[in-house]
């Protein structure tokens, strides 16, 4: 982080007075106020979620995090289903998206014919900007029906009763469920991670790569032993940023996860995430405890994403706008 004088800021001259100088302090305070507003927004999110969720957490205690009973009728709330659902879908999504995104980014920086490099790169970046509700709709109307017929039904027929596979793939083969939601999430974060990794690879000075080729490395060895270690720190940051997206994503998941609060029995079973639960129930919640339980779930999501995003930012540094 450069200090003030190195960036050429104006502070050393701030005491000079001239026409219009009367507004100087007003303008200074306006700028300071705007910056502070952003800080207050973040603090406000944290505090309001904690305060709003406190009645639920204090009433149900530890069972709010371990119980899977979520019953608005009897006003008993345990959030283990949505909390685990959030973690499971995000981790599966990352496991699917990361290898594909990494290989795509490598292809675009190392092997792609020069004529295609820019168009494909731009296409990937544009796709990273498509709103998640579009991915959700595609998942619901196009992907889920095909997934049910061509993947879920055959796999469930194949998994022999009594084996671990039967447990893993249990559920209802109707297309929506934990695995479907994870795959849609993966498709959504894929262009994002690929675009960020590609941007990182492009920051490597050409002579670093040339040196590797110069001593006779194959492209695989160059990528694995030279370019990847060169950006390792930032690359992990970029991946964490993608994970943060997956954790907090609402629309892409709500459409296809099936929305039930029990612990998913298998990958094809329906489930819920924290954000899908809030999206589905918050506007209709009437009892104070129900609202409090949803806010408490929001607070848990806040804590998880804050840790992930803070780690990502610490690893990435301030240089990347993604």
């Amino acid at each position: 982080m450069a200090n003030t004088s190195a960036t050429g800021a104006l502070l050393p001259y701030a005491h000079k007075r001239a026409r219009g100088a009367g507004f100087e302090s007003f303008f200074h305070y306006a700028c300071w106020g705007a910056a502070t507003t952003l800080l207050c927004a973040m603090a406000g999110i944290c505090v309001l979620l904690a305060v709003g969720g406190w009645p639920a957490i204090s009433t149900f205690g530890l069972s709010f995090f371990t119980s899977t009973v979520w019953n608005p009728v009897t006003d008993v709330y345990g959030g283990a289903g949505p909390i685990l659902g959030t973690l499971i879908t995000s981790v599966i999504a990352l496991l699917v998206a990361l290898p594909l995104a990494f290989l795509t980014a490598v292809f675009l920086t190392e092997f792609c014919p020069h004529r295609l490099r820019r168009p494909i790169g731009i296409a990937v970046e544009l796709l990273a900007g498509i709103p998640s509700i579009v991915y959700g709709m595609w998942g619901l109307f196009v992907f889920a029906p095909l997934f049910a017929i061509y993947i879920e039904a055959p796999v469930m027929a194949w998994a022999a009763p009594g084996t671990i596979w039967e447990r893993l793939f249990s559920g209802i083969p109707n297309g929506s469920g934990v695995l479907t939601a994870s795959i849609i999430l993966a498709i959504m974060i894929l262009p994002f991670i690929a675009a960020t990794l590609r941007e990182l690879f492009l920051t490597i000075p050409p002579r670093v790569r040339e040196a590797a080729y110069g001593v006779g490395c194959t492209p695989l060895e160059t990528v694995w032993s030279v370019t990847l270690p060169y950006v390792r720190r930032s690359a992990i940051g970029a991946v964490m940023l993608g994970l943060g997206r997956a954790l907090g994503e609402t629309m892409a998941v709500t459409f296809v996860i099936g929305n039930s609060h029990h612990l998913p029995r298998g990958l094809f079973d329906s489930g819920a995430t924290i954000s899908s639960t809030i999206a589905n129930e918050f506007a209709e919640a009437t009892s104070a405890m129900h609202i409090s339980a949803l806010l408490a779930l929001g607070f848990v999501l806040f804590l998880i994403t804050f840790v992930v995003l803070a780690l990502a930012r610490a690893l990435l540094g301030h240089g990347h706008t993604a």
Binding site: L126, G129, L190, G248, T250, F255, R313
Partner: protein, 285 residues
């Protein structure tokens, strides 16, 4: 066994591993592009199939009725414009503070860090926050609350780009202003902002593209409205929530309208992002 060692020697192993790697990379890219093309294809096919003049001239229909998305489109525009007015003011001022006024102390570092986290924080939590500060006290979902929620998502993007662009301005520009005896804030306003205008505009456009498709924060701030309304203190119809409701409904004509709405949002987002690329390419040239 004289023939074998030559085939599995070190050179061939490396060559084989490398070929495999190149092939995997190529296949992965093709797979990714196919999936993403499939999404665009079904969006275009279903979207254009459902797009007609009525979409722009009629309001959202009851189930089974004939209608369009006029109220939702206008509502979305109103929400986004309102949010952008707040976000641009907030973002430019905060970015200016970070670049020009902060002394790089712990406070500035905290603000910058929080802004970076806010950039990618789950938008549904911003929605919950605005529900608590703007909906609950007024006892009503409102346009106003929706615009605030969107503004809180857009502002960090503008703050970030404003700070980055201002830091790129040469020190000589600031010295020139001071040399003329201009107050610092006039120098910022008349010289620095002017020379950074292109970059700030890019940031604002990116922020606009981001919030135009945001659904989650609107679910419990602006809610939705089946009718045409421009009342700032009442729920307002908007495209994302309409798409959400209609897509999950059991009615065919509602689902068609949802596809048309999704296409409209995707086109505007892609359009704005393309515009940004054209603008920044021209700026570099």
């Amino acid at each position: 066994m004289t023939g074998w060692p030559n085939i599995f020697n070190r050179r061939n192993r490396r060559r084989f591993a490398n070929t495999l790697f190149v092939a995997t990379c190529t296949l992965a890219t093709i797979l990714a592009l196919i999936v993403l093309a499939a999404i665009l294809f079904s969006l275009l096919r279903n979207g254009f199939g459902s797009l007609n003049l009525a979409v722009f001239t009629q309001d959202t229909p009851p189930p089974g009725g004939v209608g369009g998305l006029r109220n939702a489109i206008l509502g979305s525009i109103l929400l986004c414009v309102g949010a952008m007015i707040v976000a641009v003011a907030l973002g430019i001022l905060a970015g200016t503070w970070l670049a020009e006024y902060s002394r790089e102390n712990w406070y500035a570092k905290t603000v910058r860090f929080v802004n970076d986290v806010l950039l990618s924080a789950p938008s549904i939590l911003v929605g919950l926050f605005v529900y608590e500060i703007a909906v609950r006290p007024l006892h009503s979902f409102s346009t106003f609350a929706g615009a605030i929620a969107l503004a809180l998502i857009a502002a960090p993007i503008i703050t970030r780009t404003t700070e980055d662009v201002l830091r790129l301005q040469p020190r000589t520009l600031r010295e020139a202003g001071i040399g003329l005896g201009t107050p610092v804030w006039v120098t910022i306003r008349r010289i620095l902002w002017k020379s950074a205008a292109g970059g700030i505009l890019t940031g604002a456009l990116l922020a606009f593209a981001r919030i135009s498709g945001e659904t989650a924060p609107l679910l419990f701030t602006s809610l939705n409205n089946q009718f045409f309304s421009l009342d700032l203190l009442k729920p307002i119809a908007n495209l994302p929530v309409t798409i959400f409701t209609f897509a999950l409904s059991a009615y065919d004509d509602w689902q068609h309208l949802a596809w048309a709405g999704a296409l409209l949002i995707a086109i505007s987002v892609l359009g704005i992002n393309t515009l940004v690329r054209v603008l920044s390419a021209r700026g570099r040239a």
